[in-house]
Symmetry: C2
Subunit: 433 residues, 2 copies
């Protein structure tokens, strides 16, 4: 017996839910086009090798969907896009005009326990700039993110971009007296902070560094927000200021991002709550950073640095719902339903539907010639279709069609040409009745 529900962690998107997803990605796409990102796509199935060294083998084997090829090679459903992009860029580096700005929107898969904000299949939009390690591309990435959130209707009080840099952090940590070999464990510990109690976090740090004073100075440092010591951050914030977006950004030394491949700036977007100092969503709405070695790891002859970020529909939908930013009229119905009076008048209804559609007016022809008109009107009502056309024997006799306004109930006999005029300016029609 086949179950009727989708598999655990997977989603059925009925027209309403698909409409929400389309709303989000149409906004994302419009920002991409405005800012000159070009769309690409890669395979959903990749060799498991591609992800090795990017995240721990255990994580890779435990949290991915795996397929065994007929030849026995381990394949996975892509958990993220960046490794595929790096592979594609490495493969055709000589054909590409660098620097290049690319974006992709598509499904990703993670075999983890489904929970709020996490599903096993989700859509992600990825934005990347490859072929430059200029600070301009760092600032442009942040600017892109902010444009996306603004396009979705969010404003300053809704979100914040937290910025840090792995390079700068390492300098700071060395300044605080930590040793080189402690840097990576420290950055990883800081990344895990969100999931830990404060005491647990301190314990974790003490495992890496026994000197309590040094750990204390680190914790103090993590909560500072000044950038004075770093020429990089000073320059970056000056550029963000010129871009007009610095008010959405804040230094946050607690952000180090989990992925091992980041080599410079890292950033996250978090939801802001009404109370500025108050609780913020644990989950990042978006994450990204600079990865200057991802392409050269695949082909040592290539030096193609990159920076990028990804945002998922599942997390964004939650955010937009929280902030009441999802429009209520997600599904735009057709302009009118052309009803079918009976079998004899069917041809006339087809003719009218054909006439309107050829003029580019979206309409629905009722899909059954044996259904009573009454039921067809109820159908239009349920579907929130604003008008119903009635073409019965009496209308045919005078060579007209009857247009019924489903909101007001008013109806009017019209010639084909007058009908066209009204539907062409359909948002004014209700005033005209």
């Amino acid at each position: 017996m086949t179950g009727l529900n989708p598999l655990k962690g997977f989603r059925d998107l009925y027209p309403k839910e698909k409409g929400v997803q389309n709303f989000i990605f149409e906004k994302v796409r419009s920002v991409a086009r405005l800012l000159g990102y070009e769309e690409y796509d890669g395979p959903i199935v990749e060799s498991m090798d591609l992800y090795a060294n990017k995240s721990s083998k255990e994580l890779l084997e435990r949290q991915t969907f795996q397929i065994t090829s007929k030849k026995g090679n381990p394949l996975v459903l892509r958990p993220e896009m960046t490794p595929s992009l790096a592979r594609m860029v490495a493969n055709k580096a000589s054909d590409l005009t660098l620097p290049i700005k690319l974006f992709n929107i598509g499904p990703r898969f993670r075999y983890e326990a489904p929970q709020k904000g996490r599903s096993r299949e989700f859509y992600q939009a990825d934005f990347d700039i490859l072929g430059t390690n200029s600070i301009v591309s760092d600032a442009e990435s942040i600017y892109t993110i902010i444009n996306i959130f603004l396009a979705l209707g969010a404003i300053e009080k809704d979100f914040i971009v937290y910025i840090n840099s792995r390079v700068e952090m390492e300098k700071y940590l060395l300044d605080l007296g930590f040793k080189k070999e402690q840097l990576k464990p420290l950055l990883n510990a800081i990344d895990k902070q969100d999931k830990l109690q404060k005491e647990e976090f301190v314990e974790l740090l003490l495992e890496i560094e026994k000197n309590k004073e040094r750990v204390k100075s680190l914790i103090t440092f993590l909560n500072t927000k000044t950038v004075e010591k770093s020429p990089y951050f000073l320059k970056l914030f000056s550029l963000l200021d010129t871009y007009g977006v610095s008010k959405y950004c804040q230094i946050n030394y607690n952000i180090t991002r989990g992925l091992d491949y980041y080599t410079g700036i890292v950033f996250e977007v978090r939801e802001k709550t009404k109370d500025e100092g108050g609780f913020e969503l644990k989950r990042a709405l978006l994450g990204g950073g600079r990865y200057d070695n991802l392409v050269s790891d695949l082909n040592k002859k290539l030096n193609i640095p990159g920076i990028g970020f990804a945002l998922s529909d599942v997390v964004l939908i939650e955010f937009l719902q929280n902030k009441k930013l999802l429009p209520t009229d997600i599904i735009k119905p057709v302009s009118c339903l052309i009803s079918v009076f009976n079998k004899e008048t069917l041809n006339k209804s087809i003719e009218i539907s054909n006439f309107l559609r050829r003029k580019g007016i979206s309409c629905e022809l009722y899909q059954d010639e044996n259904t009573k008109l009454d039921k067809q009107l109820k159908f239009a009502d349920k579907k929130e279709i604003p008008f119903v056309l009635i073409i019965g024997p009496s209308e045919i006799k005078i060579n007209k069609v009857k247009l019924k306004n489903m909101k007001t109930g008013e109806q009017k006999d019209l010639s084909k040409e007058d009908l066209l005029k009204i539907l062409n300016i359909k948002f004014q029609v209700t005033n005209k009745f």
Copy 2:
């Protein structure tokens, strides 16, 4: 060592190839909206059970990508969309206003040998009408198909819709003296015809029916194109006539479609060659039919008939290339590149890019402040960006920007406001210089 190529049978879509796919599906989507189809989506991973009884178990196990869930259940990457749609409709039948017209565009997977027109991952557009078995929905489906091909730029001489019906065929076969238990094997044999030599086909028929005269009469019948004996076909073609699309359609009794779940009309689109009677592509460009039991197979209490079809991007791209219907300017570049003269003028370039983008004008800011202007101009040239803005110290001094037309080489100093005017009507600009 990770390979740089995608897995066998999978595709990397660089911006040009993604542009081709977008071109196709934007046309498909516009037809869907015009005709009142609503978009939905289902999971890419489904339980293998969902496809059982729909196609042979052997085929299912051999030609699908399989994943074993952590609980040991066999899962597959969806090879087609219709079973997922039937499951979704069965699951929420009471919430849906029927009849409903639905479409989906998304990836499908088949683990078969890659060849021309076949890949292991491809995108398919599926269109379906559920909740009615009216002949109107049969005609509307054919009308939808023809609108898609016309929207893609194809005309009458490019394609033909072959129509048959499993129900009508069974009647014909009984009339020819075949027995009830021979019907299914006969329809399957006729479906395999494309892949067989004529003699092999006759042999296959003789295995089912020993009477040579009867087999001969069947072969004669298969090549007729008249519909006189069938009230269903007469009505259907009369409706297609009213829809204005009968000239694109032809009865073809050789079309029976392989999928077991079809219960009525079946159809295919084939490419027409210049020579009307000549060779036609073996592969169907599109296939579909009526499936009245797919939903009730999942829930016996439901009687929700359906009809639908699917078309794949891989096959369509080949067709459009053959017919020279793919536009040459698939990638629309940004309106202009804002170059960066040097580190000191970077802020000015950011300001101008910000100014234009806020006005909704797509533009690219060069992503490196250390690159010589010369190289930036070459970049714009390679990317076919029509204009480059130059904002150096001399332009800044007079509070202007220099607009360079990359085609003519002409350049002009402009105020921000004049620049905006020109880019707003950018297709007239070349005449104005």
